[in-house]
Symmetry: C2
Subunit: 191 residues, 2 copies
DNA sequence: GAAAACAGTTACTGATCGGTTAATGTAATG
DNA sequence: CATTACATTAACCGATCAGTAACTGTTTTC
């Protein structure tokens, strides 16, 4: 096993991710993936036992790249932990404004494979939990009395903004969510 | 046109809605719809030109029944307009706790048909706008200075809570969102 | 009661679904 | 140079996709 080089495999996952993100999972057939990546179906199935395995690989790639991008952008936009929690929504606004923005891949994956014990749903949930943990870290560093609760509220605002931005094809939700987050941060109890 | 009785047609839409809600749109074939409803495919296509038309009919039914249910539940749970905006999240908690809960049909529809000008996405967006309008009405009645902005924030909390509840198969997000909404309401400017 | 008009069925269309088989090309090993 | 091992391909599998054609009843209308 391990026919194609590591870089070709990575490129396959990268292109499959793009197809799934733009067209959806069920709506994207493996024949299309083969055609668009230039990798024959048989070669794909040498490295991924099933379509589901390929989807999981794209989700893992997306988790890494997106979370990397978001956390770095938050850190670049603000100095303090509290400022970073607010800057989250500025980063989201930038994302929403991109032509390629089509909502959250994990929300879409979870919507199409929603069973609690489905590996795809589990992968999506894991991504959200990692974000939640990071928000909770920032909230703890900022000295809030209940960092987990505050992080949960921030995450809810983030997911709601993404869903509405994707549906309305507008970045306005990022601004609304930021104002809400600002009020939550200023009125939350501190240690 | 108009072969089957009005009640049979309504029953077909009702069952198709259930199938789409549980399995997804692309993942639910018209053969399955025919099998599960007991209505032959030809009979279905006598009344719905395409699968997309059937989907739109299920979305319109869902908009009517769900919005009716939610608004009535909010009104039953609280006396004042401000109380209703908070009770929204108690109603959501009840919904999340149901075995049949599988997220928001409109979010799922928009995720699978996300083009801005796609009729399915437009229908989903229309549903959210109607909810936004109602929240804004309540906020105006409650005497808030910027009812539209507050309504937008409430809507973001609602959508975020739904997405996270569906993904995590837990009703906890309703409680977190309610606490956030409570803080927003108490700190928002009034006329 | 004849004749349109219509609701309903089964059986089918070509295309595509996820996935595999059998064969070919190619590179490394003895 | 022969052979083993492996990467890759075209062609194919049965099932299912959305949608339709041809046909059979049942009403409605005159």
């Amino acid at each position: 096993m391990g026919a194609m080089s590591q870089s070709k495999r990575a490129e396959l996952i990268r292109r499959a991710l793009d197809l799934f993100y733009r067209n959806g999972f069920h709506a994207t057939g493996m024949d299309l993936v083969a055609r668009e990546t230039g990798v024959s179906k048989t070669a794909i199935y040498k490295h991924f036992r099933t379509k589901e395995d390929l989807i999981l690989a794209t989700l893992r790639l997306r988790d890494e790249t997106f979370r990397n991008w978001l956390l770095r952008r938050m850190a670049d936009l603000a100095e303090t932990p509290e400022g970073q929690l607010l800057a989250l929504f500025d980063a989201l606004a930038e994302w929403f404004a991109q032509d390629s923005f089509r909502g959250c891949l994990f929300i879409k994956a979870s919507a199409e494979y929603q069973d609690a014990d489905h590996p795809i749903n589990r992968e999506a949930l894991a991504h959200k939990r990692l974000l939640l943990d990071h928000f909770a870290d920032l909230a703890a560093q900022a000295g809030f009395a209940d960092p987990r609760a505050l992080a949960a509220q921030i995450l809810i605002l983030k997911e709601g903004a993404i869903v509405l931005a994707a549906m309305s094809h507008s970045a306005a939700a990022a601004r609304d969510a930021k104002r809400a987050a600002g009020q939550l941060l200023t009125s939350a109890a501190r240690i």
